[in-house]
Protein backbone atom coordinates (compact mmCIF):
# COMPACT_ATOMS: atom_id res chain seq x y z
CA UNK A 1 0.00 0.00 0.00
CA UNK A 2 2.69 2.46 -0.89
CA UNK A 3 1.36 4.26 -3.95
CA UNK A 4 -2.10 4.46 -2.69
CA UNK A 5 -4.70 6.76 -4.18
CA UNK A 6 -8.29 6.43 -3.15
CA UNK A 7 -11.03 6.68 -5.73
CA UNK A 8 -13.66 7.21 -3.08
CA UNK A 9 -12.83 10.05 -0.81
CA UNK A 10 -15.52 9.64 1.79
CA UNK A 11 -18.37 7.50 2.98
CA UNK A 12 -21.53 8.34 1.04
CA UNK A 13 -25.05 7.88 2.26
CA UNK A 14 -28.13 7.59 0.03
CA UNK A 15 -31.65 6.49 0.79
CA UNK A 16 -31.33 2.86 1.87
CA UNK A 17 -27.68 2.66 0.91
CA UNK A 18 -24.25 3.45 2.39
CA UNK A 19 -21.18 3.27 0.17
CA UNK A 20 -17.58 3.38 1.27
CA UNK A 21 -14.21 2.07 0.25
CA UNK A 22 -12.56 -0.40 2.60
CA UNK A 23 -8.85 0.22 2.60
CA UNK A 24 -6.21 -1.10 2.80
CA UNK A 25 -7.19 -4.74 2.48
CA UNK A 26 -4.87 -7.51 1.43
CA UNK A 27 -6.07 -9.42 -1.62
CA UNK A 28 -4.39 -12.49 -3.04
CA UNK A 29 -5.16 -14.30 -6.23
CA UNK A 30 -4.55 -18.05 -6.12
CA UNK A 31 -4.40 -20.35 -9.11
CA UNK A 32 -3.92 -24.07 -9.03
CA UNK A 33 -5.70 -27.31 -9.72
CA UNK A 34 -4.39 -30.39 -8.00
CA UNK A 35 -5.18 -31.83 -4.61
CA UNK A 36 -1.77 -30.98 -3.21
CA UNK A 37 -2.33 -27.31 -4.02
CA UNK A 38 -5.64 -27.32 -2.17
CA UNK A 39 -4.28 -29.12 0.87
CA UNK A 40 -1.22 -26.85 1.07
CA UNK A 41 -3.43 -23.77 1.00
CA UNK A 42 -5.75 -25.31 3.55
CA UNK A 43 -2.90 -26.08 5.96
CA UNK A 44 -1.31 -22.66 5.69
CA UNK A 45 -4.32 -20.42 6.03
CA UNK A 46 -6.35 -22.73 8.22
CA UNK A 47 -9.38 -22.86 5.99
CA UNK A 48 -10.50 -24.84 2.98
CA UNK A 49 -10.99 -23.13 -0.35
CA UNK A 50 -14.60 -23.29 -1.54
CA UNK A 51 -14.98 -25.86 -4.32
CA UNK A 52 -18.62 -25.16 -5.06
CA UNK A 53 -19.17 -22.57 -7.79
CA UNK A 54 -20.15 -19.02 -6.78
CA UNK A 55 -19.52 -19.50 -3.07
CA UNK A 56 -17.03 -18.30 -0.47
CA UNK A 57 -15.67 -19.50 2.86
CA UNK A 58 -14.47 -17.52 5.85
CA UNK A 59 -12.20 -17.94 8.82
CA UNK A 60 -11.35 -15.44 11.55
CA UNK A 61 -8.75 -13.65 9.47
CA UNK A 62 -9.48 -14.43 5.84
CA UNK A 63 -12.30 -14.86 3.36
CA UNK A 64 -11.70 -16.88 0.22
CA UNK A 65 -13.89 -16.54 -2.84
CA UNK A 66 -14.41 -18.94 -5.72
CA UNK A 67 -13.66 -17.26 -9.03
CA UNK A 68 -13.29 -20.18 -11.38
CA UNK A 69 -12.62 -23.95 -11.06
CA UNK A 70 -8.91 -23.22 -10.64
CA UNK A 71 -8.90 -19.68 -9.33
CA UNK A 72 -9.66 -18.12 -5.96
CA UNK A 73 -9.25 -14.77 -4.30
CA UNK A 74 -8.34 -14.46 -0.62
CA UNK A 75 -8.98 -11.22 1.20
CA UNK A 76 -8.12 -10.26 4.75
CA UNK A 77 -11.07 -9.56 7.01
CA UNK A 78 -9.21 -6.70 8.66
CA UNK A 79 -7.58 -3.64 7.20
CA UNK A 80 -3.80 -3.62 7.02
CA UNK A 81 -1.20 -1.05 7.91
CA UNK A 82 -1.14 1.75 5.33
CA UNK A 83 2.62 2.07 5.26
CA UNK A 84 3.17 -1.62 4.78
CA UNK A 85 3.45 -3.38 1.46
CA UNK A 86 4.37 -6.84 2.71
CA UNK A 87 1.98 -9.48 3.88
CA UNK A 88 3.18 -12.46 5.83
CA UNK A 89 0.58 -14.76 4.36
CA UNK A 90 1.63 -13.82 0.83
CA UNK A 91 5.27 -14.61 1.58
CA UNK A 92 4.29 -17.89 3.16
CA UNK A 93 2.01 -18.99 0.33
CA UNK A 94 4.45 -17.76 -2.30
CA UNK A 95 7.20 -19.95 -0.92
CA UNK A 96 4.92 -22.96 -0.49
CA UNK A 97 2.93 -22.67 -3.73
CA UNK A 98 4.67 -20.59 -6.36
CA UNK A 99 8.21 -21.71 -5.62
CA UNK A 100 7.27 -25.37 -5.62
CA UNK A 101 5.30 -25.01 -8.88
CA UNK A 102 2.06 -26.14 -7.27
CA UNK A 103 0.24 -23.08 -8.55
CA UNK A 104 0.44 -19.31 -8.62
CA UNK A 105 0.08 -16.73 -5.87
CA UNK A 106 -0.31 -13.12 -6.93
CA UNK A 107 -0.71 -10.07 -4.74
CA UNK A 108 -3.64 -8.09 -6.16
CA UNK A 109 -4.13 -5.77 -3.17
CA UNK A 110 -3.52 -2.67 -5.22
CA UNK A 111 -5.11 -3.97 -8.39
CA UNK A 112 -8.59 -4.21 -6.93
CA UNK A 113 -10.54 -1.56 -5.09
CA UNK A 114 -12.93 -2.94 -2.51
CA UNK A 115 -16.16 -0.99 -2.20
CA UNK A 116 -18.51 -1.84 0.63
CA UNK A 117 -22.24 -1.34 0.04
CA UNK A 118 -24.74 -1.57 2.86
CA UNK A 119 -28.48 -1.23 2.95
CA UNK A 120 -31.68 -2.74 1.64
CA UNK A 121 -31.42 -1.04 -1.76
CA UNK A 122 -28.10 -2.56 -2.88
CA UNK A 123 -29.66 -4.82 -5.45
CA UNK A 124 -31.97 -2.12 -6.76
CA UNK A 125 -28.79 -0.21 -7.55
CA UNK A 126 -26.81 -3.13 -8.98
CA UNK A 127 -29.73 -4.32 -11.12
CA UNK A 128 -29.83 -1.03 -12.99
CA UNK A 129 -26.41 -1.67 -14.52
CA UNK A 130 -25.93 -5.41 -14.41
CA UNK A 131 -27.21 -8.36 -16.50
CA UNK A 132 -26.96 -10.76 -13.55
CA UNK A 133 -30.10 -12.16 -11.92
CA UNK A 134 -29.81 -11.31 -8.21
CA UNK A 135 -33.05 -13.00 -7.06
CA UNK A 136 -31.35 -16.08 -5.57
CA UNK A 137 -28.00 -14.40 -4.98
CA UNK A 138 -29.29 -11.86 -2.50
CA UNK A 139 -30.67 -14.52 -0.17
CA UNK A 140 -27.51 -16.61 -0.04
CA UNK A 141 -24.92 -15.54 2.52
CA UNK A 142 -21.39 -15.72 1.14
CA UNK A 143 -22.43 -15.90 -2.50
CA UNK A 144 -19.89 -14.67 -5.04
CA UNK A 145 -20.28 -13.74 -8.66
CA UNK A 146 -18.15 -12.24 -11.37
CA UNK A 147 -20.17 -10.24 -13.81
CA UNK A 148 -20.42 -6.96 -15.66
CA UNK A 149 -21.57 -3.79 -13.97
CA UNK A 150 -21.84 -0.91 -16.40
CA UNK A 151 -19.70 -2.97 -18.86
CA UNK A 152 -16.99 -3.15 -16.18
CA UNK A 153 -15.73 -6.47 -14.84
CA UNK A 154 -16.59 -6.74 -11.16
CA UNK A 155 -16.55 -9.36 -8.43
CA UNK A 156 -19.56 -9.15 -6.15
CA UNK A 157 -19.43 -10.83 -2.75
CA UNK A 158 -22.49 -10.99 -0.50
CA UNK A 159 -20.79 -10.79 2.87
CA UNK A 160 -24.06 -11.00 4.72
CA UNK A 161 -27.64 -10.13 3.84
CA UNK A 162 -27.75 -6.47 2.78
CA UNK A 163 -23.96 -6.11 2.88
CA UNK A 164 -22.01 -6.46 -0.33
CA UNK A 165 -18.32 -6.13 -1.13
CA UNK A 166 -17.70 -5.03 -4.68
CA UNK A 167 -14.26 -5.53 -6.22
CA UNK A 168 -13.34 -3.48 -9.25
CA UNK A 169 -10.04 -2.82 -11.02
CA UNK A 170 -8.47 0.37 -9.79
CA UNK A 171 -8.48 2.19 -13.13
CA UNK A 172 -12.24 1.69 -13.46
CA UNK A 173 -13.11 2.51 -9.87
CA UNK A 174 -13.47 6.26 -10.22
CA UNK A 175 -15.75 5.90 -13.21
CA UNK A 176 -17.83 3.24 -11.47
CA UNK A 177 -18.04 5.36 -8.36
CA UNK A 178 -19.34 8.36 -10.26
CA UNK A 179 -22.00 6.12 -11.77
CA UNK A 180 -22.93 4.75 -8.32
CA UNK A 181 -23.17 8.32 -7.07
CA UNK A 182 -25.51 9.24 -9.91
CA UNK A 183 -27.63 6.06 -9.90
CA UNK A 184 -27.95 5.87 -6.11
CA UNK A 185 -29.18 9.44 -5.88
CA UNK A 186 -32.28 8.39 -7.83
CA UNK A 187 -33.11 5.18 -5.95
Amino acid sequence: MLNYQSSIKEEKTYSGLIVKEVVPVMKLNLRGKNREFLSTIGKNINMTLPLEANTSSSSDNYTSMWLSPDEWMIISNYTADKENNNYQIEKLLFSKISKTNLGAVTDVSDQFVMINLKGEKIFDLLSTGCPFNFNEFKKKNGAVTQTLLLQIDVIIHLKEINTVNLFVRRSFSEHLMSWIDDAASRL
Binding site: A53, P69, L148
Partner: protein, 91 residues
Protein backbone atom coordinates in the same frame (compact mmCIF):
# COMPACT_ATOMS: atom_id res chain seq x y z
CA UNK B 1 -29.98 -11.33 -26.01
CA UNK B 2 -30.13 -14.84 -24.65
CA UNK B 3 -29.13 -16.80 -21.55
CA UNK B 4 -26.19 -19.20 -21.65
CA UNK B 5 -25.77 -21.93 -19.07
CA UNK B 6 -22.03 -21.83 -18.29
CA UNK B 7 -20.93 -25.36 -17.29
CA UNK B 8 -18.98 -23.84 -14.38
CA UNK B 9 -21.01 -20.83 -13.15
CA UNK B 10 -24.60 -21.55 -14.16
CA UNK B 11 -27.03 -19.40 -16.09
CA UNK B 12 -25.66 -16.04 -17.19
CA UNK B 13 -26.50 -13.37 -19.68
CA UNK B 14 -24.99 -13.62 -23.13
CA UNK B 15 -23.21 -10.27 -22.73
CA UNK B 16 -20.77 -11.93 -20.30
CA UNK B 17 -19.59 -14.32 -23.02
CA UNK B 18 -17.42 -14.11 -26.11
CA UNK B 19 -17.95 -16.35 -29.12
CA UNK B 20 -14.81 -18.17 -30.25
CA UNK B 21 -15.79 -19.51 -33.64
CA UNK B 22 -16.36 -23.00 -34.92
CA UNK B 23 -15.43 -25.92 -32.67
CA UNK B 24 -13.67 -29.22 -33.36
CA UNK B 25 -11.27 -27.96 -36.00
CA UNK B 26 -8.19 -30.11 -35.72
CA UNK B 27 -4.75 -28.79 -36.47
CA UNK B 28 -3.13 -30.89 -39.22
CA UNK B 29 -0.53 -33.27 -37.79
CA UNK B 30 2.11 -32.34 -40.38
CA UNK B 31 1.55 -28.71 -41.48
CA UNK B 32 4.75 -28.77 -43.58
CA UNK B 33 3.26 -31.42 -45.85
CA UNK B 34 0.25 -29.29 -46.77
CA UNK B 35 0.10 -27.05 -49.78
CA UNK B 36 -1.03 -23.43 -49.44
CA UNK B 37 -4.58 -24.21 -50.34
CA UNK B 38 -4.96 -26.94 -47.73
CA UNK B 39 -3.33 -24.77 -45.09
CA UNK B 40 -5.63 -21.86 -45.90
CA UNK B 41 -8.56 -24.24 -45.71
CA UNK B 42 -7.57 -25.18 -42.16
CA UNK B 43 -6.67 -21.66 -41.12
CA UNK B 44 -9.45 -19.51 -42.54
CA UNK B 45 -12.34 -21.48 -43.92
CA UNK B 46 -15.32 -21.85 -41.57
CA UNK B 47 -18.73 -23.30 -42.27
CA UNK B 48 -20.78 -20.40 -40.87
CA UNK B 49 -24.06 -22.10 -41.64
CA UNK B 50 -27.58 -21.01 -40.94
CA UNK B 51 -28.77 -23.75 -38.65
CA UNK B 52 -27.22 -25.99 -36.04
CA UNK B 53 -23.52 -25.33 -35.55
CA UNK B 54 -20.74 -26.44 -33.17
CA UNK B 55 -19.15 -23.42 -31.53
CA UNK B 56 -16.58 -22.52 -28.91
CA UNK B 57 -17.55 -19.94 -26.32
CA UNK B 58 -15.65 -18.23 -23.54
CA UNK B 59 -17.15 -16.94 -20.30
CA UNK B 60 -14.94 -13.86 -20.65
CA UNK B 61 -16.44 -11.74 -17.89
CA UNK B 62 -17.06 -14.60 -15.48
CA UNK B 63 -14.91 -17.65 -14.86
CA UNK B 64 -12.87 -17.10 -18.06
CA UNK B 65 -13.25 -20.75 -19.08
CA UNK B 66 -13.84 -22.07 -22.58
CA UNK B 67 -16.56 -24.55 -23.45
CA UNK B 68 -18.37 -25.98 -26.47
CA UNK B 69 -21.87 -25.25 -27.55
CA UNK B 70 -24.30 -26.63 -30.10
CA UNK B 71 -26.36 -23.65 -31.23
CA UNK B 72 -28.96 -23.01 -33.86
CA UNK B 73 -27.66 -19.84 -35.50
CA UNK B 74 -31.03 -19.00 -37.02
CA UNK B 75 -32.87 -18.58 -33.71
CA UNK B 76 -30.13 -18.73 -31.03
CA UNK B 77 -31.60 -21.86 -29.54
CA UNK B 78 -28.91 -23.69 -27.56
CA UNK B 79 -29.19 -27.44 -28.04
CA UNK B 80 -26.25 -28.60 -25.95
CA UNK B 81 -23.35 -27.33 -23.86
CA UNK B 82 -20.33 -29.47 -23.02
CA UNK B 83 -16.83 -28.91 -21.71
CA UNK B 84 -13.66 -28.29 -23.67
CA UNK B 85 -11.79 -31.42 -24.60
CA UNK B 86 -14.90 -33.55 -24.75
CA UNK B 87 -15.66 -35.09 -28.12
CA UNK B 88 -18.64 -33.77 -30.00
CA UNK B 89 -21.53 -35.96 -28.92
CA UNK B 90 -23.18 -35.76 -32.32
CA UNK B 91 -21.17 -36.29 -35.48
Amino acid sequence: MFIINCPFCGERDQSEFKAGGEAHIERPKQPTELNDEEWAEYLFMRKNIKGIQFERWNHAHGCRKWFNMLRDTSNDEIKLIYKMGEKSPIE
